[in-house]
Symmetry: C2
Subunit: 430 residues, 2 copies
């Protein structure tokens, strides 16, 4: 069987290395030869530090897709422009397609699955969420007899690296972002990672596979890590908590409560131990209970491992004449998710106010919270300070989001409050 690769970037080079280094292993496991034949990329001049003589190289992806000797097309361009044309074109030509492109799937998934079905092809995308971690297979096949009630994922390695560094070194966000960029763990323009949107795309895919629900990324409230301060990480530690950027989806009766935001979680939880650029997804099932899947969320070789495993899966079903044995999302048709009404979900909150250091300031703040029915589980009293503004840290009991927002609006109008409070959600059920 023949394989064509479109896009020779970091992951593409990893795929070439996997075929070169593990070729005999792959053929033995498949029981048939699987050959990388063609590579298409607009840039054929840059040295990739990997021998390319064995492949037919070209700049035009259309030629690759039309080549009858190519059975499986790997799309590793990224984005929703040319990549969409490549994937749609390959599927329409009856090819099997492997992609790692979460933005493409989050925005055009249903359309592409339909094209695949219509032309008897298949599409696989394990590498689109959690990099090397076979979490999509776990949801689609390992947990297929069970109903998933919630998902909690650390699915962006850039953010997790930055938060881990901030905690380990006590340095501010900007310095840790800079280090991530120097190490190649963050892009020159990191906004898509640090603002949470990348996690949101991945959550939409996880919700489809795990819960059988279709959810548009625009319907997922999203908050990034740009405003997290080392001081919040320190307070979290005092409460036995750590801060992670979590992608969360919870079945709440008929509603789906799905969101992406920095979250304080128990330091003793397995998810809290996911450090640096690693990813993990914890799944709560009604029968299976909690399961968790951990591994490298990005990187050339780890991601390539997942991409080539997908190629092998498609080759296996091609050989067995079993295209569509399992639909890409585990079911033929997703149900429409009914997102939770904003403000309806409940949760515990960490609140850090910045207030003038006057007697009675704590009573003023807690009074504002009490008037909205927000009950407090603990308070860290401000130390007396040379400067006039001090932090007042409050942990609430479980409270409805709407009441909390109203209380915070009232508190913001208090004259002793000098800046907007920092609000971080707390999830203890992990």
């Amino acid at each position: 069987m023949g394989v064509g690769l479109v896009g020779l970037g970091t992951i593409g080079v990893g795929v070439v290395r996997a075929f070169q280094q593990n070729g005999p292993l792959i053929d033995e496991r498949l029981g048939a030869p699987l050959v990388l034949r063609r590579i298409a990329d607009i840039d054929l001049d840059t040295d990739r530090h990997v021998p390319l003589d064995a492949y037919q190289l070209g700049r035009d992806w259309k030629e690759l897709v039309e080549d009858p000797s190519i059975d499986v097309v790997i799309e590793l361009i990224g984005g929703t422009g040319v990549a969409l044309e490549v994937v749609r074109g390959a599927l329409a030509a009856g090819k099997r397609v492997v992609t790692a492109n979460k933005a493409l799937l989050a925005h055009h998934g249903p359309e592409l699955y339909a094209v695949a079905r219509e032309h008897g092809g298949e599409i696989a995308f394990e590498a689109s969420v959690g990099g090397t971690i076979p979490v999509l297979r776990a949801l689609r096949e390992g947990l297929c007899a069970d109903r998933v009630s919630s998902l909690h994922g650390v699915v962006n390695g850039t953010c997790n690296y930055i938060l881990t560094e901030m905690e380990a070194r006590g340095e501010p966000y900007a310095a840790c972002l800079k280090r991530a960029q120097d190490l190649g763990l963050a892009e020159a323009d990191p906004s898509f990672d640090v603002n949470g949107m990348d996690s949101t795309h991945k959550l939409a895919i996880l919700v489809g596979l795990g819960m059988g629900l279709s959810l548009h990324p625009d319907d997922i409230p999203t908050e990034g890590i740009e405003d997290i301060s080392p001081v919040d990480i320190e307070y979290a530690e005092q409460f036995g908590l750590r801060i992670k950027l979590l992608a969360i989806a919870k079945q709440n009766g008929e509603r789906l409560d799905a969101r992406v935001h920095p979250t304080m979680i128990p330091a003793s939880s397995v998810l809290a131990r996911v450090d640096g650029p690693m990813n993990a997804i914890q799944v709560q099932g009604e029968f299976s209970g909690p399961t968790l899947y951990y591994g490298a969320g990005a990187g050339s070789l780890p991601t390539a491992s997942a991409v080539v495993a997908d190629v092998m899966e498609l080759a296996r079903s091609l050989r067995a004449g079993a295209a569509g044995r399992v639909p890409p999302l585990g079911v033929e048709t997703l149900h429409e998710a009914r997102p939770e009404t904003p403000g309806e979900c409940r949760g515990e909150y960490y609140l850090r106010f910045t207030a003038l250091d006057r007697p009675g300031v704590l009573a003023t703040i807690t009074g504002a919270l009490a008037r909205h029915g927000i009950s407090i589980s603990s308070v860290v009293q401000p130390e007396r300070h040379e400067s006039r503004a001090v932090p007042v840290v409050i942990m609430t009991h479980s409270a409805p989001e709407r009441e909390l927002r109203e209380a915070l609006e009232e508190a913001a109008r208090l004259e002793d409050i000098t800046a907007a409070p920092r609000v971080i959600r707390v999830e203890r059920d992990l």
Copy 2:
């Protein structure tokens, strides 16, 4: 498609519940009805607290296996007696078989896979290792493009519960075993769990799937948790370590270093956070790096979730006419493992001597170690005590097992040493 269940014990009842509660979900995901039709068990009198009117009940498994309306047979008897007949009989009758029976697979796997192949059937056994965790799927399909260099697993929930309790309460082994039995987490005769043999069976299965190597359980050096003392757990904590019963397999050149024993691992590792009856398997791949799979290793409903997922997988390949799309172990033929020569493997060791509290005792012990080239990384000095025997705790640097054993034999002959030393291996690469 029709399903028959042989063995209505704890997991069998879980399977019945899964079909009852998730029937419509299962049918929707499969795109076809999957019906539990028949149940066979020698005991049809005990009340299982689950309605059984919808099923054809009988005491004879042979009738069930010969029923042409049964496509998939679930074997949940356990052991290697009748269970072997059931599985062999069902496969020979051309049925698909699902089992959770690790002892059966560890001892008769190759024979059963051959029977399946010969009769165009299939056998699936996700629940045999790690209970609900889809780790076998992950190894067989998620990591199939990669070469696995090592496996480290907490795969026995009974042992992990006991060790977690000993650590949390500082209580001795016997008291914590008793509590496990009271909670139904350990059997009346717990020897197979606590002596490590259950973990050894599971390791043999993991090595087959992950590394493509056939390894007989008898070739795996195995040590249980019966001799672990709370004091060892306390010392581990002082060194930033925790004690887990690990099933370990490492590729060491052409050799396979596979063993089961209590192991000290870094408290900061994800595996160290696996508490109570939970299981986790960490896999090191050349391309994928470390991945980890966590979840309930036992229990009626979690195990049933994995069993029914297997039934669905077999139903899918039956419908697609794709039996044998993936061989049960990921390759048609395993290579024979070449076990590491005993004594050849290297490692760090925790040594707890019990010695008379005399001046110079430490020099005597360290001298014996030094004569065999064992280098020491740290020593916890014995406190002066009322009693005459005191602990002397030594952590070594990496040392060959043979030299360590020789040094310990010499130390055992020293007159100040009053009891055989406690020896626990340390694994830091997690």
